[in-house]
């Protein structure tokens, strides 16, 4: 029982580690000759990782029969939103440097940004509706709305695929994970509700 209480703060702190390491590299000026690119890649990749970890919680609970996994699903999902927000801030501050006229143009004209920005809006909507009172308020619709996380994950992989050039290995890797996690759910729902 005591151990259980420790898990939540532990997950909370572990999820902040990537940010801490990035901040350390910023302070040490250790991001290479193109720090903007490096920060974009790092924050983007961590968004995708947290999204995938969040999606893995339900299958893990099913397989292990440990409710513990789904107890932290919301926090992990919020961390995906957190890193996605950092990713967006890096883009606005350092890539576009607040040239506001360019933002609409970028979102509309660069397919990978269109897709990435859509994924962000989904995560934002899910984050806003994540508190308990929102769950109560939305009732049945909450579950429907939150199924959009599957779409966000797919759009995230597409966003990555679209920025890769001659070699698409990372998109294949994350795409396979997302496909497995969504496939697992599809398989269960097709088998019928006997679990």
């Amino acid at each position: 029982m005591q151990m259980r209480k420790l898990i939540k703060p532990l997950v909370f702190i572990l999820a902040l580690l990537p940010l801490a390491l990035l901040l350390l590299r910023i302070l040490q000026n250790n991001l290479g000759p193109d720090p903007v690119q490096e920060l974009s890649l790092e924050t983007g990749e961590w968004t995708l990782r947290f999204l995938i970890i969040a999606l893995a919680m339900t299958p893990l609970r099913r397989i292990t029969n440990q409710v513990e996994f789904t107890r932290h699903r919301r926090m992990i999902g919020l961390y995906a939103l957190f890193y996605a927000t950092l990713h967006l801030i890096v883009w606005l501050m350092f890539v576009l440097e607040f040239r506001w006229f360019a933002i609409a143009e970028e979102i509309l004209e660069r397919p990978y940004i269109t897709v990435g920005f859509s994924a962000y809006l989904i995560l934002l909507a899910l984050g806003i509706t994540s508190p308990k009172f929102m769950v109560r308020k939305l009732g049945k619709n909450w579950k429907r709305l939150h199924k959009l996380v599957y779409l966000a994950a797919i759009l995230g992989v597409l966003h990555l695929l679209w920025i890769l050039r001659l070699d698409i290995a990372p998109a294949v890797f994350y795409g396979a994970l997302v496909a497995f996690l969504l496939g697992y759910r599809a398989w269960f729902s097709l088998r019928g509700p006997h679990n």
């Binding site: 910023i26 040490q28 000026n29 250790n30 991001l31 290479g32 000759p33 193109d34 720090p35 903007v36 690119q37 920060l39 350092f94 440097e97 360019a102 970028e106 004209e109 660069r110 397919p111 990978y112 679209w162 920025i163 890769l164 050039r165 001659l166 070699d167 698409i168 290995a169 294949v172």
Partner: protein, 347 residues
Amino acid sequence: MLIKKPSDINPSEITPESVYRNRRQFIEDSGRVLLGAATVGALPSIASAQAGDGLKARAPTTMRRNPPAAWWADKFADIKPAPNSAPFYTGETLTPYEDVVSYNNFYEFGMNKGDPSSNSGNYKADPWSVEISGEVAKPGVYNLEDILKPHDLEERIYRLRCVEAWSMVIPWVGFPLADLIKRFEPTSKAKYIEFETLVDPETMPGVRSRFAIVDWPYREGLRMDEAMNPLTLMAVGVYGDYLPPQNGAPMRLIVPWKYGFKSIKAIVKINFRETMPDTTWVDLQAQEYGFYANVNPAVHHPRWRQDTERRLPQTLFSRSRIATQPFNGYGEQVASMYEGMDLSRYY
């Protein structure tokens, strides 16, 4: 220009040494430097004064490379320094050697910017031969030594603009491609030149990747007038030193008014032809990459805005974003070649 105060040197510029050379090679190299100094009977700084005198930029002494073969040292003993005026020179701040050799796109060695420097430890730039074929009077397979023999090397400081919207300023060592072309006597049918990069799965791990969506070898091409333009350089060195593998050893193209991907590396084939060649990027995504690929702030790439560029190196707190120039600032020398062409169509 290259001398830095200790406080200006970031840890990032010091530590990567172990990254771009594997340990074994580093030990071997330092051994040779010591041996070299011992046989000459002089300190390295005095020995180095013999070669590369007067050059505008030289690699840091501790990072200099061994010649791929003995004859290279003679070739590099007498390099003509860059002039003081454009277009073969620019007074813009040089991108430090450490960054030029550690931040590269060379997909044969991997997809990340650091991969080419860390994954090229087994690469061999010697022996090397180049196949000359197609519409020329003197086709054949030539040793690199014979290819380079009649050419005097010169230093040129050029801007390099990547299609990914970053740029560098780099002192190359090479000779005009035009001089090389003339030696093989192209026929009247030679309207285009096609180049190919080495493919060696043994020493190029990127080529072994199962998720590469490219049909190796890497291919690029130029129209004959572009190839003959005095700006077009066949480079064999950088910062007064031999090209490292990640920068395209032993011989690469530099076309400074075009996006970097046109400047093909590690050339093994030069083919003269009547029709426009297929190039790697056009084959892959014709709607994104064109044959010409002239730097053009007015035509955005589907993935990257092209109106500005990040001049590297940057730190997060001192970022230099500068306006991209048409033809990368070489319009005076090259714009006339494209007169009457719709550059938003022929991008």
